[in-house]
Symmetry: C2
Subunit: 366 residues, 2 copies
């Protein structure tokens, strides 16, 4: 047994007490929040045919996959990098006949072949809600409200939403602002690189970069470029009272499959801003086996950053029961919410316990 | 998009509503049962170096693995087929200095390269508790009691325990009943094949097959062969009042890494016996990096069979809120434990809801 054996692969980690329980409790809180709004849980498998993982969203998933060969059948399979596409598969196949809008929720691990820019982790806990059959303003407002409520219940405060418009640049490049090099334009906008927008045919897009920031300031500027879209975003913002809304019409990073509107969620824990977005979502299309597309919208939340920020800690008190403590005493303490640690030998210590049973009552350790 | 894309790999499945939520709720109930007895949750990763997965138990794990190549590093990795070995790794490394006995719990998916005899599933939810630092009668009694309590809370009744003695045959074959072909003897005993025990040197082992059944009958017979072991099993049975105990001293299937005593748990749901064991466990050794071995014991429970038997169903009522329902009304209903389904358009139907809000109160659908 070498040191290498003890080392986990890059981007994988053990959660120890109390973080492992916190992760589980937080996930439960978020899924309960989705359930309260009618989103019913589905649980797709960790492993699928690679083609099946990619085929159900209107646009392909990006990123490297962990691939595996089925030891029984020899088939090539992949570990899921995301659960939204799997929920789309379920909606398009097994639940194709269920009434719309269809509300589904999920939680579980996802695996990414390459770590993201902000985190080395490659196994993440993803939880989310998908609303199949509609992608309008009311749908997005329900999803954002549901996420905000669930995150508030989990202990996140000061939540804000950054709204983006993934389809907008390509639509403007079709009409009225044609460009000869759409990928080059998108790269310039991604980098918010004003210099690369000096090229004459790109010049109108500088107005898009200016139409960013607080919704009250940005939406009137966006209205000059895309009045209908600006009006829809204003209607969405009006349905989200109490949530700070910003607009970033050129942001595309991480919104591979989204359409007219997408969003990122930001928040604070214990007064400190979280280092990255807590979740993201937006409108997208589900591809059905018959080739039709169905409107949908969803939100995904990442639990790990919330655990790392200290949320989800359990309040369960822990009491040491010396040898000879009556069975009934332990049962009563557990019924009262204690975790009991029964001594199995005279040598067992109360280390790690907050209290000790003295034969008559729980005594806090000095 | 072909039919093949819609087909999940053999042995994998989607859990739909309400089974997906039942699986989650059942897992929570079982882990809460472990927590009540002081078992704190750890959460190891889904993917590890293959050598690391195998090296921490005193005996190797059997069975085919799903293997993968890390797309970032090119290293060969494997998906975990079991979590007990990972918990042993944590106990032997990151928690090597934590006081003993160390109580750890876990829950999560495991992947098996080949399906078992009784079930086609290759992705299973495993939950369990491990007690590191002791493997004596008191340790096994605590683990079995904890599992029985947790399963009872989850809705399983009529629990019984089948005790086995994985090390016994090899010990007898050393002294006093030597055999020239130990694997042949083990195969004969595994098959409970009396014919194969006609060979003279194997004849004494027929008494082992006879020492099986209800503890009250079997333990006196086992006492003639292995008096100390029989006494320890009798002491264990005495610590488990109210649980039916059977003895099967030659059963080895599925106990690859267990030592002096192991067990299987059986039970009933709604009066019907479950088709296979709900869980198993026993005494084992944790291998430390310095080559020493530490006594330990654990129990693993399989959640999927309990879900398939109908346990874990949620009682949350579901109410349809027509367009125009006040925000405060929905919030109050959710606070009262309802799942609310807000209409997003005049076309939305109350299908799937048990109740409808009529503007003043919840009305059950006729």
């Amino acid at each position: 047994m070498t040191d290498r054996v003890a080392l986990l692969p890059s981007g994988f980690r053990d959660r120890l007490p109390p973080a492992a329980e916190a992760a589980s409790a937080l996930t439960r809180t978020l899924v309960d929040g989705f359930a309260a709004r009618g989103y019913e849980r589905v649980s797709p498998p960790l492993v699928e045919h690679e083609a099946g993982l990619a085929s159900w969203l209107g646009k392909p998933l990006g990123g490297a996959l962990f691939r595996t060969t089925d030891p029984t059948t020899g088939e090539g399979l992949a570990l899921r990098p995301d659960i939204t596409g799997q929920v789309a598969r379920i909606a398009a196949t097994r639940l194709a006949a269920a009434p719309r809008p269809l509300r589904l929720a999920y939680a579980g691990p996802v695996l990414r072949g390459r770590a993201g820019q902000l985190s080395p982790e490659r196994e993440l806990t993803q939880t989310g809600a998908e609303l199949i059959g509609t992608d309008d303003v009311a749908a997005l407002a329900e999803l954002i409200t549901t996420a905000v409520e669930a995150l508030t219940a989990a202990g996140v405060s000061g939540l804000s939403v950054d709204l983006t418009t993934p389809d907008l640049v390509a639509e403007l490049a079709a009409v009225p602002w044609p460009v000869s090099d759409l990928p080059g334009l998108l790269a310039a906008l991604d980098g918010k690189d004003w210099g690369l927008l000096e090229i004459r045919e790109r010049a109108p897009y500088r107005a898009l970069l200016e139409a960013a920031g607080e919704a009250a300031n940005a939406l009137p500027l966006l209205a000059k470029i895309a009045p209908d879209l600006s009006a829809r975003l204003a209607a969405l913002a009006a349905l989200l009272p109490g949530v700070r809304i910003t607009i970033d019409p050129t942001e595309r990073h991480g919104f591979e499959y989204h359409s007219w509107c997408a969003f990122s969620l930001f928040g604070h824990v214990n007064g400190q801003p979280l280092r990255a977005e807590i979740g993201r979502g937006g409108a997208y299309r589900v591809r059905h086996p018959d080739g039709t597309e169905e409107r949908a919208a969803g939100v995904s939340l990442y639990v790990d950053m919330l655990v790392d920020a200290g949320l989800g800690a359990s309040a369960r008190r822990r009491i040491f029961l010396p040898e000879g403590t009556l069975t009934e005493t332990g049962a009563q303490l557990r019924a009262d919410g204690w975790a009991t640690v029964q001594a199995l030998s005279p040598d067992d210590s109360a280390e790690g316990c907050s209290h000790v049973w003295n034969g008559r009552e729980a005594v806090a350790k000095g």
